[in-house]
Each structure stands twice: as C-alpha cells, then as structure tokens.
Amino acid sequence: MTAGPAGPARYGPPPVLLTTLSSAALLDGRGDLELAREARGAPGEWGGVYGQLVRLTGPWRLSLVVDGSSRSLPETLVEAGGGSDRWQTRHRWGRLEVAETVVATEEPPGAVRRLRCSLTDGPALTLTLRSRFVPFLLPVLVEGIRPARYRADARPGELRVRQRGYGLSFRSSVAPSRLYANGVAWVGNSREGPVEEFASDHEVVLTPEAPVEVTFLISGGLERSIPDTASSELATGDPIEVADRAERARVAWEARTPIVRFPGAPELERAYALARSALRRLYSAPGDGLVGLVAGYPWYAAIWCRDLAWMLPAVLWLGDFDWAERSIDSVFRFQARSELPLLGGEPGELPMQIAPGPLFLYGTSDTTLYYPELVLRLARHAGRASVPGQWRDALARIAGWGRARADAETGLLRNGGEAETMEIAAGPVARIRYGIDAPDTTIWDSTDRRDHAIDVQVLWWGALRATAELLEGRPGPPDPAGLRALAEQVAGSVTSRYAWPQEGYLYDSLRAGAPVAQLRPNALRAVSAGLLAPETARSVVRRAARDDLTTPWGVRTLSSADPSFDPGTYHDGQVWPIATAWAADAALAAGERELGLAYLTSIARQLAAQAPHANECFRGDREEPFDSCFVLGFSVAPFLTILFERLWGLEVDGRGPRLAVRPAFPESLPRASIDGLRVGTGSARLRYRSGRLSVDWSGGAPLRLETAGGTTWVGPGESAEVDVAAGGSAAPPHP
C-alpha cells in the first residue's frame, strides 16, 4: 500500500433502493421514482419499478394539479427519509400538504405509493394527482433497449400493459377520471403500438377537516404471473404494514447471522454490518422457482451466476445454508446437456445468467468452474455427509466440460471464443445481426485475456479437486484419481509457466504458448489458493502493493505502467473493490498481515462512505465511481468471506463437526469475537485476545477444534480455551 485514505470520498446523495425478494423500486429520494445515474460514461435514467427481474417502468412521476397549475412532487419537497424497506417524503405547496410513502411489494411484485393529502386551512379544493410512467417491460439482463410496441388494456380498476410475455398492472385506490397515452387523451379499452408514456388523472376533494389517502400500485413481471382478479388489495391496502413485514423479516434474518466484533477496529465492525445488510438486499426469489442473489443495481439486476458464486461463500459464513443450497440448485437446473451454440452453451456448462421466463444464457469460460467448490463448501458448512445424486451427476458433467477445454500437454483450461461461437451460430439464420466483439468472457469480460488466464486456471484446479472429493465412491466416470492427477498437472503448469521473474509476479495469461506480460490482480488468486511457494507468494503480494497497481482507494484491474492502461476503462485500469478484496485475501494468506488489514480497512472506509450502498468500481486515477452500479455483490461479499476465512482463519466442517482456527490478526488487532457461528447443526462462540482463543460450543456432538498448535475437543455445551499458537490435547472425548 502506498498511502492511507485520500480523505473523505465525495459521493452524491445516495440513490434509494427498496427491495423485496421479487421486486425493487429505484428512486432518488425526492418523491418520484426517477433516478438519473451515469452509466457507461453518459447520463442514464434508472428510476422506476422492477418486478421478477423485469424492468416494468422507466421513471414514474406524480404531479399535483390545482386550478390548472401543477407542481411535481420533487418541486414541493420539504423533507425525506427512510431505509431499505420504505421511503417517506413530505411535500408542501401553499396550503396543500402531501405525505408520501413508497414501498416495494413482494406479492404482487412491484411498488406501491401512498399519498396522504391534506389542507392546512381555507376552503375546500379539488386536487388532481397526475400519474405518468414510461412502460419498459423487458428483463434487466437485456441492457439498453426499451421495446418499441406495447398492448394496453384499460378496464375497471386497472390499466394493464403487455409486451411479448411481460406485463404490468397499474391500479389506484381512486379511479382515474382521464387516461392519456403519449400525452393525448385516451378513451380507454385497448390500444396497440408505440407508447412513450401512460398518464392518468385522479381527482379528490380536500377540506382541512378531511385528509384523503390515495394509493397507487404498479406490479408485474411475467404476464402469466399477473392475476386476473384484484388481488393487489393487500399491497394497496396498507403499505406501512407491507414495509413493517419486510423489516421484521430482514431483522430476523440478521439476528440469525453471526455477530462479529473487533473492539480495536470499529471501522471493520461497522463495515461487516454494512456489507451484510447490502448482501441481504440482493436476495432474490423472482419466480419460476428460481432462488439466488441479484448481482447489483441498477443495471445488473439479474441473477448472474458468476456473481452469485462470489456471494454464496459469504452467505454460508452468515449461516444461511438453505439459501445457498436453493441458489446452487437453481443454477444446476440450467446446466446445458447438449450443444447450444446460439446460447453459447456447451454440454456441462452452467449459465452466465438466469431469470424468470425461464431465461438463461451461457457463454463464459469461468462461471461453471466456481460451482464444484461451492457444493463442497455447502457440504462442509451445513454438515451434509453426501450431496444429492443429481448434483453429483451435474458435477460429473462439469468435469467433462472442463476436460473438453483442457490442453493435453499442460492441463490448462482454454478461455475465450464464446461470443464468436454465438455469432457464427446466429449468422446464417438471422435477418438482423448484432453483437459485442468480446473475444473473451472471464471475470474481466471486456478485455482479451485469452488463452489461459491465470485466475481461470486457479478456478479449474480448485474445481478438479472439489469434484474429486465430492464424487468419491460414485460409480462411473469421471475417476476421482484422474481428476486429482489433472489438478496436479494444472498446479505444475501454473508454477512452471506463469512465473515472471523480472516483476517477481505471475504472467496474466498464456497465448499461443507465450506468456502475456500484463500485471493484473488476478495473479493474486494463485497466492490465495496456496499454489505458490511461500517466498514466491510474498513476492507476488508485495509487487501487487506497489502504486502502479494499488491505489489508496483500492486495486486497479491493470497496472498503470501497462501501455494499454486507461483509468476510465472497466477492466483495463479502473479500481474494483473485488480486486482489493483479492489483494487482502492474498496478503493475509501469505503472512503479510498488516498489509492485508490495510486493504480491508480501505474497503471498510469505502463502505462507510457509500452506506448503504457499495459501488462496483472507481476510476483508476481518482476516487470517483465511474460506469459503476451503485451496489454490487462483488463489492461486499468477498470482504465478508475474508473476515471469516483469512482474518479469523476459520475452516468449518459440520460433518465432524470440526472447526479450524488459524487467525491472521496483526498486532494492531489484538481482540476479536464471533457469536453465533453456525457449524453444521451447532453453533460456536469465539473469543480471541492476544493469541488466546476461547470457544463455547452448542452442537449435539463434540467439536474437533484445530489450531496451529494441535487439536482440542469441545463437548456439547462446553467451553475450551487454547493458545492458538500452542494448541491443546488431541484426545477426543467419549460421545
């Protein structure tokens, strides 16, 4: 690390994100559902209602009309506040006062707005609330397109809009007196064609003695999921109750997660709480039986399976085994069984994205490789002696997929070429052709890292080892011993072919047999995996800490000394918190404890500055979010995982049960504790103070506690105290 924090980071007013498992509302907090954000270098409008991972609307605005004059809600804003479950604003225009509550609703998936309108004094007046919204109706995974044509049906109590299998329902507690389409009065019934905006007028008569409440609901997603009956009554009836219910569910979930404390590092403790809260907001059960976590908001509001794979280890450490299991199951449902070149799929490959429809798309080199280790993690955390048979079949297919892409001489997995395959497949049959010339789709998918990117090889090595362990004893191919041998071959190729002695680092890739001399943080994954000799690992970590790669606000995707470095380019110079997390992880793994803590503290500072959000990326030349989702799972989940796995040095295996504790606390962090750490069906309480560890265990069977010094057994309901350097006795107690 070259320097400490660069002073308070300057961010604009944080966007407001209201989420449920099936919906989201995005707004800027001033009263309307509008949200102007820079995206891909230009202003974009991301406000609106999202249901079932479908963007239902663009901006949804309400204005107040009295005697021919009108004011927008933001123009009349007096005060605003709220949290992740509701947003409340107060507005005043002369003697008219309006209090609005906005809530995302899970069932039906959408958002509700309740306005309480009142007069301070004087005679009665007629207030017209004019609602205007831009229809969208396309899954968020299709970036940058708003469909051109819609079918709309106005019927009693509802305006319904449809577009190729997607639909939305607009309802209000006060029936509209007029409808408009594209600014022109519309008599109602049905219309079909291009629509820029739907609007409606809702009139109420106010007196100082009689405030009036008006509720609006927009919900939808898959057209076939929208009920024909007026079943939205619950949501329109009492949005406060809906928000209270969501808040209770969130609080109950947090209460089941571990309590992590660092008495000497309050910033880490606060960052843990912020990251955990941000992760919970990404939970998604959007329909069609899918479960997972949304990658981020606003433009990655879909289940991206690579992003999910980075989030699930944190979900497991937070003790939510059920969510992790259902998420993995959702991904495995869409494993390709045959060649699907139009979707970029090869047999055994796992999807890049899944969404209700169900919709899915393949075409990455790395997503599939994460899942064997995730299955193994789940088995260990939850204490499952075996994994379901259908998962073992899926794992066998993954091994087959990887082997088909592996080089016979080196064992290295080939990445890249997916987009080209899709283009070739679509070319001869398409009337209209389109594409993005991305030759390679690893985690840095906008740059070309063919043919054998280093981090992909680390994933491949881990997938082979995990698959071998999980398939042990399963009849039929693949043979676990063969997978282990291949893993050894990959490990040997990594150490022998990627060494970059001039930099004391690792090459980023091998292309046509030649090393690609680019300095990226991806090489740090080999350190974390333990593939390098200790001295080499330390060299790599120290090299990454130099200021061409590490900035005070995090780690760049490419060294600033590289000829192709561009500080504004997504994967060729921008700073990504996930890269900073890799650096922290590698530093702690290599024994560079203070450096690891410095990286973690840098992430913690950013989380505090952006609370409750966590930006995806920053410019590479200054601490400014650019082309950045305002919250991304990548930016919080790895941080959480590192706190447990590296700083605390925890390994769990509920099948024993077993808990290994090899802390990497630097001298500046002498005290720490965890309450409620789930190990299988049991729970552990850990206290660390200056090299001493105490463990309270509440499981049903004795806990095998491993530290650097040896093994100690802790009986159910008992405690143990050990020196984490010296260890304890190795004699297991009688059950």
Partner: protein, 160 residues
C-alpha cells in the same frame, strides 16, 4: 436456400427442440421473445431511405449497449463510410453531428428508448436497391466493439 443456411436452420431447430425438452416450452418461448424484441426494437423497419445527398436510417434504441461512444463507424455493403460523410442526431440532442467530430472527449451519447437518426452522404447504388448496413460503436467505458447489421431496401423520400 444455401447448404450453409439450411444446415444453420436445422441446427437452430435442433437447439430449439433441446431447449424445449430440457427446460420447458416457456423457456423456448421466452428466449425467442427476447430475440424478436431485440430484432424489432433497434432498427426502425423501413427507415432506410434515399435522401437528396445519400441515404438515412433510424434506430429506436442503441444496439445492445447504452452510454457514451467515442467512435462511430459505418459500413455499407462492406465498404467503410468516411467519417465526415456520416452524421447522427438523437431525440435528446437534435443537432446533426458528423462522425468525425465524435471522440472520447466529445462522445455520442445513446440512451435506451431514445431514437437516433443517421444520414450518410454519397452514392450508394440504385434508389430501390438493397443495402447491408453495419454500424460499429466503441464505448468510452467498455472497449469491445458493439456492432449492429441489417439489410433492407432503400425507400425514397427520406429526410434531407
């Protein structure tokens, strides 16, 4: 139908069948719906028209990606169009801009749902002939080239 196209159609049918069998008819319907939406929502069908100085066409949405583009290129029937012969304007920035003035510092900004018109100077063949038009855009934030290609008949009477 050429052999290559016939084989591609057969492959498409096989893939569609596989998706339907393995993942259900809803999946097939949803995937086809998305592909058709993208096809219909970018190029405004029938907008390729002759003008007094060349041809013009319109896009109802950016092709796949929004944001700021530092370079805009066009090919017609494979031939590159000189950047000073290509102009663009959007519904939110209605003044025509020549492609040669577009750069990373002065990008062309495209947003979802915002219409963009393109005008190309030059003689591009018979007024009622068919042309293959390929638009190539380079984002200032995400480098890989975004491209969009359509084939259509040139109609008469486009905007000057």
């Amino acid at each position: 139908m050429s052999t290559g196209r016939f084989a591609a159609v057969l492959s498409l049918a096989r893939q569609g069948f596989s998706v339907g069998v393995e993942f259900g008819a809803h999946s097939l319907e949803a995937l086809v719906g998305i592909a058709e939406t993208v096809e219909e929502s970018v190029y405004e069908a029938g907008s390729l028209a002759g003008t007094a100085t060349g041809i013009s066409f319109a896009l109802a949405n950016p092709p796949l990606r929004t944001g700021a583009f530092g370079e805009v290129r066009l090919r017609i029937d494979g031939a590159p169009v000189p950047s000073d012969a290509l102009r663009a304007r959007t519904a939110t920035a209605p003044d025509w801009r020549t492609a040669s003035t577009v750069s990373a510092r002065a990008p062309l900004e495209l947003a979802a749902g915002v219409r963009t018109e393109f005008a190309v100077d030059g003689d591009w063949g018979p007024s009622d002939g068919e042309l293959t038009v390929r638009l190539e855009l380079t984002s200032i934030a995400i480098p890989p080239l975004v491209w969009f290609e359509f084939r259509d008949r040139v109609r008469s009477g486009g905007p000057g």
